[in-house]
């Protein structure tokens, strides 16, 4: 039983409250990812769980233990920092064994544990090196190794891959997924990288300004966002939003030449303002006599992004495949399936379903 539970967790810096009443429960063995825009409190929340920041009010449990007032040292968590935080004066081996040594474990035992971790992470050849003599990816692996060695109940990661270049990032991402499968511990992972969040998480927690917006599996969040913020945040390129007005069981969208989008959701009264959400992947364009104009086509090879402008001044992005050569400036018609459209209340930004 080593899940992590937060109950009404609050963090204040002086008068500024940066975490607002967060309730969250992470199951044993779960891989949980915190995402959210910069400054929303991801790191703060993680550090509260680690014990590196005091919790102003509320409780944090790890398994059955209330750890709210416990020192970081006593919580049985391990943390991997963005900057790796390897001790530069120790060899890889010593870095990994340091925690055990300081807590008085016998040498033999330490060596064993380190050997096992280094095997898992394929670090055997580097055990005698200092961190300086390692590449970024190797350093990251050592940092993870240091966490593994202590066999903690909970692993915490704060943007562990953001200092790596794109290629390595992909490799290490796969590695972390494998690791989670292998040791099965509870892991909490902070990132602002869409791809990492979507591919690694069992559960994604979307934070915004210190509040939890939605919690769920990656595909849940993608397919069934609770509100405009989550819908816009998950998925790349982001969802397009167009203003519309309710009319019967459909929404009239001025930007699309008053096209009426039929929908099955519970709509508010006629004439209410709503937002229509359209994923770029669900759209297609064809040359046609229309008031939508193709501003720019970014062609990335396999996929292209079309930037459209509507007569109402709203902008749209459409993801297209294939190599049709529509010249920029052409008038285009937008094609999509009404069922793929999401509807949000314009005022509350909540999803209507």
């Amino acid at each position: 039983m080593t899940g992590v539970t937060l109950a009404k967790a609050v963090k204040k810096y002086g008068d500024v409250q940066v975490i607002h009443d967060v309730d969250l429960s992470i199951d044993d063995g779960e891989f949980c990812v915190f995402v959210g825009p910069s400054g929303c409190g991801k790191s703060t929340l993680l550090r509260m769980i680690a014990g590196l920041e005091e919790t102003s009010s509320g409780n944090i449990h790890i398994g059955d233990r209330d750890v709210t007032r416990l020192d970081a040292a006593d919580r049985g968590v391990a943390m991997v920092f963005q900057s790796y935080a390897l001790y530069p004066h120790m060899t890889v081996e010593d870095n990994m064994g340091f925690g055990l040594k300081m807590n008085g474990h016998p040498k033999e035992k330490i060596r064993e544990k380190v050997a096992e971790a280094s095997r898992i992470l394929k670090l055997d050849d580097y055990l005698k090196r200092k961190p300086k003599a390692l590449s970024g990816g190797q350093r990251q692996r050592v940092a993870i190794g240091r966490a593994i060695v202590r066999g903690p109940e909970v692993f915490l990661f704060d943007e562990p891959l953001s200092n790596l270049d794109a290629e390595l990032r992909v490799d290490m991402r796969v590695e972390i997924a494998r690791l989670h499968k292998e040791i099965g511990a509870t892991m909490i992972y902070v990132t602002h990288d869409q791809v990492e969040a979507m591919t690694l998480a069992d559960k994604i927690v979307v934070l915004r300004a210190g509040r939890v917006e939605q919690v769920g599996s990656p595909m849940e969040l993608y397919a069934d966002p609770d509100n405009r913020f989550v819908a816009g945040f998950i998925g790349s390129p982001s969802m397009n939003f167009l203003q519309g007005t309710v009319q019967g069981d459909g929404v009239v969208v001025p930007a699309l030449e008053n096209r009426r989008v039929a929908t099955s959701v519970a709509l508010p009264a006629d004439g209410s303002k709503v937002l229509l959400g359209l994923r770029p992947q669900h759209l297609s364009v064809t040359a046609a006599d229309s008031s939508l104009v193709l501003d720019l086509r970014e062609r990335l090879g396999g996929v292209s992004y079309d930037y459209l402008s509507t007569p109402t001044g709203e902008k749209l992005i459409v993801e297209t495949r294939g190599d049709e050569a529509l010249p920029e400036g052409t008038a285009v018609a937008l094609g999509f399936n009404d069922a793929d459209a999401y509807v949000f209340d314009e005022a509350t930004e909540q999803r209507l379903r």
């Binding site: 970081a72 920092f81 300081m102």
Partner: protein, 282 residues
């Protein structure tokens, strides 16, 4: 890089520059060079008025010989070593701890304490003279090397703390957090994580303090007397009294007194220069 690297300018200017630097250096060090030359001149050169000419004979060996075997100079040098080395060790040790406390922990009064050290360090030390002298007298440490060392340690702790604290602040704080998460006790974090990382700062500070203390004259005069406990700076003035107007010997004595910090400086040059800015600037 500013100014423009010399490699990118005309050959002529490069050559000029290469000639200019040593010339400027000689100008710059002229007074010292003069002393060095004085120190190998025979006494006769001074009576015949040959102050600035070529030495009429090389008397370096006998001049320095007299400094080392005919005066109290070796005694003073030894005193300086016995005063400087413990001071360096003491001040660095104390300031590692204070620097760690002030650099790592957040607690009320942190900044206030830090400013106390900084302000104390910049105080005109003459204001301490009378009370410290009395204090030392009261403790029975007047005219002992211990008395001088204790005071130097205390006073230098101010400067060293400024330096160390800033250095520790520049260390990645995650290292300490990482150790905390690993369950390492605070003093062990200090000993096993922070201290090894402070080696460059310790080296730089040691050299700095060494030069400061070695060159101290004021406190040597205030807190000690006589060859039994005075350091070489005070020694050299009494040496001068003894050999008044014997410029060749005074020069040799001055050179001898200046040599240890110079040697120290050359040995640890890199740290020293880094150290000068590190602590103060950041």
């Amino acid at each position: 890089m500013f100014p423009k690297p010399i490699q990118n300018s005309s050959r002529a200017w490069q050559t000029t520059y290469q000639a200019l630097v040593p010339a400027a250096l000689i100008m710059w060090l002229l007074p010292l060079i003069a002393v060095a030359i004085f120190s190998i001149k025979p006494e006769a050169d001074f009576t015949t008025g040959n102050y600035w000419g070529v030495p009429s004979s090389f008397e370096g060996i006998s001049n320095y010989g007299r400094v080392f075997f005919g005066s109290d100079m070796p005694r003073y040098l030894l005193n300086s070593v016995l005063i400087t080395v413990p001071t360096v060790i003491g001040a660095v040790a104390l300031s590692c701890m204070t620097g760690f406390a002030l650099g790592v922990y957040k607690f009320r009064g942190n900044l206030l304490l830090f400013f106390m050290f900084v302000a104390g360090n910049f105080v005109p030390f003459q204001i301490l003279m009378v009370p410290v002298r009395d204090l030392t007298l009261d403790m029975g440490l007047y005219n002992t090397k211990t008395g001088l060392v204790l005071f130097h340690i205390a006073f230098q702790t101010g400067f060293c703390t400024l330096f160390m604290r800033n250095f520790i602040r520049a260390l990645p704080y995650e290292l300490i957090e990482a150790a905390r998460v690993e369950g390492v006790a605070e003093w062990r974090i200090f000993w096993f994580v922070v201290l090894p990382l402070m080696k460059p700062a310790i080296a730089a500070l040691s050299v700095l303090i060494f030069t400061f203390i070695w060159n101290d004259y004021f406190w040597a005069v205030v807190l000690t007397q006589g060859a039994e406990s005075q350091p070489v700076t005070a020694g050299i003035t009494s040496f001068n009294a003894q050999y008044r107007a014997a410029y060749h010997l005074m020069s040799a004595g001055s050179i001898v007194a200046a040599l240890p910090p110079v040697a120290m400086f050359f040995l640890m040059q890199r740290h020293f220069i880094a150290g000068l800015t590190l602590g103060a600037v950041k």
